[in-house]
Symmetry: C2
């Protein structure tokens, strides 16, 4: 075995984290870059994770009274313009639609038809506050129509100059929730409630520990009064904003005209919130749980919980082993688990490596000996290649859900330990600078007042740092500072 | 009561079918036109139907080995161009993206940044054969990679000059399946199999009877060797193409380069299929099942199976009635049913009309008398306003699924009878012309050879007719002709 073959992913995390990330995605067959600048193709194995994210979170928000709907992909430029008047720091990198027809030129080649130029261009939605706000203004007449809680699962576009799969792509998939309320208190409470939902989802479904907090003024969503965030620490010590929830005050309701007749009979503007998570979470999962052999799927969103590999040394045993494996698969499926039995004709070693690189939480191996003994051999992906355990089929079937919970807890605890080890308390700005100058990874935790100092801006610029959030657990008195994705 | 108030929808179907359709959508609160030309907003009640369609059909295709994935929204113009070289009759009404940035002009008004013009424009996908074919060309190396069955649920755009909600909008939602096979036989078989899946879904989930058949040459999807369709007849006698499945031969695999090493060791082009259904199906549901009081939801995709209305005449009974109603709701939900209990403070009459217009399959009324007797009153939406039945709560809970099946069957049978009554056997072209000249509604069924006559084209043009399909049940010897949506 050559030295390089010791890990499935080359380079390793410590050699080149950024390239490791790309290679994990490739080895797990989750996504790839497309011929469209900055846009990715989400391949079936990656998309299955997104479907699980959607399924779990969609159920949760519906239980909270949110209704799904669908709003147009295109936003009239005028809507964006109106928003831009109200909002500084509005992002302008958008895909703009200017024509509505193609035609053949004199050589029979297709080109855009100049004659079909739109009077007013449209922008492909970078987010839908303006067009949903416009609809809410029509739909909300009285306090009886409130609260109104709407969500859509959709694609959005922001033209990205330095795209990275899942983390930052020109097109991505997300959910955007838009809620409107009678009062400031209700709306603020809702923004916090949705942040709790995100934190709970990240920790209990994705096994990603997150820090809940409020964004500082300069990091707030343009147009929001309060931006709440969950921040996660990746394996390389960088921060990743994993979900945001905004209290928008009456800013959007005023620019969109979301007025209602109040209980007292007067007219008032609604208080609105918006909240979103995206396919970026899949990037966060990779950079939280992956190792030098590839992906490790957190069990609760894994496309397959269990992968079964038949090990056939003697062709005569083939039927016996496959039937035994299929029987096991049926038993596991009957428990609601997703199972992949690899019956393909590729080499057994390749099948094993395939499952390792895809991060299937539990790998089961079944050979002639297992069939004879009524047993199976199983391997937890999170514990490394040599953690093999043998037991009877019944014992496995009865304990598989517990094992999956153990894997979830192990992944979560591991990530939590790494994160907490890499949060450094900082007393002043010179210590902040020294920390990042020395090449340390992680977050600096310091008094929030320090960010008002001009030197803070200079240090942030020099070391590519940003204020990540003012954690709730510090009562807003501290701020976490770090490099970020 | 004024004469007009006798139906909930004004105008009625017979007065103005087209306007009736718009009013049903409005009264049921399913969708509305948006400020974006030709694009609709799908409101929660309409979107819930689409979610049910997705859930049921997605399960089915996954059982058939199809994997979901996600491909970019934007298609490079070059891809479309390449396709256009192969394909005549390519639709050219597309939304074209030409710029990637906005900027403020001297007056602070937002406009597109001329400096951010794309070298090559992109087209918003009207369908994804080209970009998925391009990916398949990379992913398929050998016969071992086949069959490859991919699907995506997504939005697509085709610039529509005469948009109608659900039926023809510039943006719509759909699923597009793209399968690749080793052999012609397998691919053709798959195209037929997917058509069967659509027909089964239309009939058994949406209660829409459909005719399976093949499109004639002039109606075939550009680029397909065979286009299969399910055609439904709407209440006004017009046809609606409710789903299509194409055998694309090697046309796309040749233009996209989907080559593979064959079992014999040579190189071959894959045989591909594509197949789609869209939000148009919701339009078909409305125009198949609706009546002059509004929508009638086919139970298996209805957002609510049962709507409960508490009838509180005496405020003192309020708690008693509401608790009784909530208890019923819990019992029904425990059976997996979706239930709406309307506790809002609007007038009882308005609640009833709301449920009628939304087409909730079963309406349950609970007043003080029902609570006293341990009974309830239920009304089937499909049988009209006076079909009230009283029974005990237990009897209702035990029979509610059967009642929903009865409603499904009634809707299906009703539509089937109307359709079959309105298919007229036609002997020659003069009879065809006479049939539509006389203002008859429905389909003409005639010998397929008649469409080769030049006079057929003239008649089609004069009466806005098209060949709908050559029904399988006629062995391809007949063709159905009619007006269509």
């Amino acid at each position: 075995m050559s030295k390089k073959a010791k890990t499935a992913i080359i380079p390793t995390r410590s050699e080149d984290f950024s390239e490791w990330y790309q290679q994990v995605i490739k080895a797990a067959d989750m996504a790839e870059n497309s011929p469209v600048r900055g846009c990715m193709i989400i391949k079936p194995y990656g998309y299955a994770v997104w479907e699980n994210i959607q399924r779990i979170f969609d159920k949760r928000i519906k239980e909270g009274g949110v209704q799904n709907a669908y709003f147009p992909l295109l936003i009239p430029l005028e809507f964006i313009s109106r928003e831009a008047e109200h909002v500084d720091g509005f992002a302008k990198e958008c895909a703009v639609v200017t024509h509505h027809r193609l035609e053949k030129d004199v050589n029979g080649k297709l080109q855009l038809a100049e004659s079909a130029k739109l009077e007013e261009p449209y922008v492909i939605r970078p987010t839908s506050e303006t067009i949903i706000g416009d609809a809410m203004a029509r739909w909300i007449q009285s306090y009886r129509d409130l609260p109104m809680k709407l969500n859509q699962w959709c694609n959005v576009m922001r033209w990205e100059m330095r795209p990275r799969m899942f983390l930052r792509s020109s097109e991505f998939l997300w959910q955007e929730g838009h809620n409107a309320f009678e009062t400031k208190d209700e709306a603020k409470e809702d923004a916090y409630k949705m942040l709790d939902a995100y934190a709970d989802f990240a920790e209990n479904s994705l096994a990603i520990p997150v820090i809940k907090g409020e964004k500082t003024d300069d990091e707030r969503f343009p147009g929001a009064d309060i931006t709440l965030t969950i921040e996660a620490m990746m394996l390389d010590g960088k921060a990743l904003q994993a979900g945001t929830s905004h209290y928008l005050g009456q800013n959007f309701s005023k620019s969109c005209g979301i007025k209602f007749q109040s209980r007292e009979g007067g007219e008032d503007f609604a208080h609105t919130t918006s909240w979103g998570i995206s396919t970026r979470l899949i990037g966060a999962m990779i950079m939280t749980h992956g190792d030098d052999d590839g992906m490790i799927m957190p069990p609760r969103v894994a496309p397959y919980h269990v992968g079964i590999i038949p090990i056939i040394r003697d062709y005569a045993d083939s039927d016996k082993i496959l039937n035994y494996a299929r029987d096991l698969m049926d038993k596991l499926k009957a428990q609601g688990l997703c199972v992949k039995l690899d019956e393909s004709d590729v080499r057994t070693g390749n099948k094993m490596w395939g499952m390792i690189k895809q991060g299937v939480p539990i790998r089961v191996e079944i050979g002639a000996r297992e069939v004879e003994n009524g047993t199976l051999t199983h391997v937890r992906r999170d514990l490394g290649r040599d953690s093999k355990t043998s037991c009877s089929v019944d014992v496995f079937v009865n304990s598989v859900n517990d094992i999956l919970d153990l894997i979830h807890n192990e992944l979560f605890t591991r990530a939590l330990k790494l994160r907490d080890k890499n949060i450094k308390n900082i007393a002043d700005l010179s210590e902040l600078e020294a920390f990042f100058k020395d090449g340390n990874i992680g977050f600096a935790r310091m008094d929030v007042k320090l960010i008002e100092d001009d030197d803070y801006k200079r240090i942030c610029k020099d070391y590519s740092l940003t204020s990540r959030c003012k954690p709730f657990c510090d009562n807003g008195e501290k701020v976490l500072v770090g490099k970020a994705y």
